[in-house]
Subunit: 273 residues, 3 copies
Amino acid sequence: MHTSIIDQIRRTTPLVHCITNYVTVNDVANVLLAIGARPIMADDPAEAEEITALCAGLCINIGTLNARTIPSMLLAGKHARALGHPIVLDPVGAGASKLRTETALQILDEVRPAVVRGNISEIRTLAVGSGSTQGVDASAADAVTEENLAEAAAFVRGFAARTGCIAAVTGAIDLVSDGTDCYAVRNGRPEMGQVTGTGCQLSALLAAALASAPVAPLSAVTETAALMGIAGELARARMEEHDGNASYRTRIIDAICCMTAQELADHAKITSV
Amino acid sequence: MHTSIIDQIRRTTPLVHCITNYVTVNDVANVLLAIGARPIMADDPAEAEEITALCAGLCINIGTLNARTIPSMLLAGKHARALGHPIVLDPVGAGASKLRTETALQILDEVRPAVVRGNISEIRTLAVGSGSTQGVDASAADAVTEENLAEAAAFVRGFAARTGCIAAVTGAIDLVSDGTDCYAVRNGRPEMGQVTGTGCQLSALLAAALASAPVAPLSAVTETAALMGIAGELARARMEEHDGNASYRTRIIDAICCMTAQELADHAKITSV
Amino acid sequence: MHTSIIDQIRRTTPLVHCITNYVTVNDVANVLLAIGARPIMADDPAEAEEITALCAGLCINIGTLNARTIPSMLLAGKHARALGHPIVLDPVGAGASKLRTETALQILDEVRPAVVRGNISEIRTLAVGSGSTQGVDASAADAVTEENLAEAAAFVRGFAARTGCIAAVTGAIDLVSDGTDCYAVRNGRPEMGQVTGTGCQLSALLAAALASAPVAPLSAVTETAALMGIAGELARARMEEHDGNASYRTRIIDAICCMTAQELADHAKITSV
């Protein structure tokens, strides 16, 4: 019988090493605690390898990358790889600067993460080796819709096959592929875009999910993407008068903290494409 | 007819580059999303110019400045200036250390921001070229009151005239001047001082406001200062039993997220001085 | 008559210099404001001494330490020491990497803080000069329980005596000792471990408490440890349906903001051991 990824994480309480941006780092730590994992943030080259060795998984998020943290990402990444730890790469803003694009490509090439999670513009940038992302959000022109779903799925499947990663491209419709199978996840709410860092949170949750050593990694990633979207749906339903994006932020993490395996199973909208 | 700065920002959804302190950065990102703008944080010299070129405005906040980010502030600032982007300088803690005072003065001189927003002690420090700010709050001795309002307005007007910036000096009474006209804003609540970063949030909102290319920049700055104060008033009115400064923090951003142009117009207390 | 540490802090409103990690820094700032103190964060070597000289106390927290901030910790620490300011060391993750263990030991040796606050695994690491902390949480094997309380108290008392610091070892039962007396604090809730940074918050509050120059430092530290636990208890009692760790985070700081000296006195569970 299928074990919910929620139960899997809560049972194994994996320690997850995060080298992540300082904008959303507090939410990343709290969302890992919410799901039942344990975060540790450490980004200096002098301890990056030692810290990652203690952990069961690594999340590398390049938002607010800098000259000191890029070497840490590579050191931790290669060491985690050598140890067989699952690694998630979140190429925040790839396409917005050469530094981001090249760093993300270097990590992809030298670290070979288990999962790359980004918006469609970031992943397109990585696919062609350059790009012009507008900030940290996906371009409207790139958006995955019901109309272009087959084409987008082919792109995501191809990207996953070429890189050897599970690609998780999130947006109004999420697409997750290991290069062979591809799933669409139709959970989430557009208002999640008004809360900074829901993507960063998902990336960290994916590291926790894979660190909990699920039998089927592709399902685990897909299910965790659904979980994040469902948290946005449940949190939205709990909004009260005068609540705005700051309350929504709190309610999303709360929803993950309170979520049961049954809720996840009941609300997940996952289809094969 | 006058267009509200709220509508103006929501219509143009400007991308705002923030080089800002790590204490309040999450709130700065979420408040930009709340008002309808889009944040991007990037502070490494290797990408500072490229990122700012993508954006419509820049907010430089020197709280937690360091040897790596100061060059980024200058690079981004000069590039944004060359591109004609509006720049806001928030001289957090100018007067508290030579590093802060000198960095703020250098940015003022070399970048020539459109707006300088600070508390009265910080702006007095910049006016005389040195200072002794007690931490990051204004000294009680400096406070703008009804009694010293004319004198304070003359100071702010003179500072704006000499620097060529719009000066926005915020406190119990805010004073905003372009060197010719000067407005007093009597919105806000004293309890806002118990939430870290409401000043940082306002600085970022000012960058968004100017990046939305309003017809009248001085009005836009004044109106945005009122907006921040009104958010504090509305949030205060929504406080419940056992709520403290952490709930207040959430409610302030929520109030900005939910604020309508009509609410802003109805509550703004702006007078010429 | 005994003055509550709450009244003492609110009366003196001490300015507290924090060199602290970027994960929980916003909560650290807001909790200092909640208790009535004033935070200033500054971590560059070029201003570390000047900033700390303005303040009444210093909190050094080594979470997310790096090559640039370690020298700042030492510079600020030695200067604060020379000025007679109380210093709190929070050795986050000591034992998890050589960098953390050695940095914490160096600060302990060269700065000689007034208080070291950590979990039992971190303090055991400092006691033996090396360790193998699992991340930033205490090992289950180390936990202080009713069963091993006498032994743990002897350890904490000995550590305090050898280092000349007040040792505050927090967990399910907190132990606070100056090397002679030792107190157990039985406040708090296990759910506090699901909120990142409640330990960091306590460390900053301890710096504020000592900066308010209480007559009896050991009592002040013990009482402040109780205060943090009571905030967790009160916040827990105010949780509503669908609230999770993110709401809990907000409610804990709110509880500190609203806490009265009477509430602290009524709920504190402090015994001599």
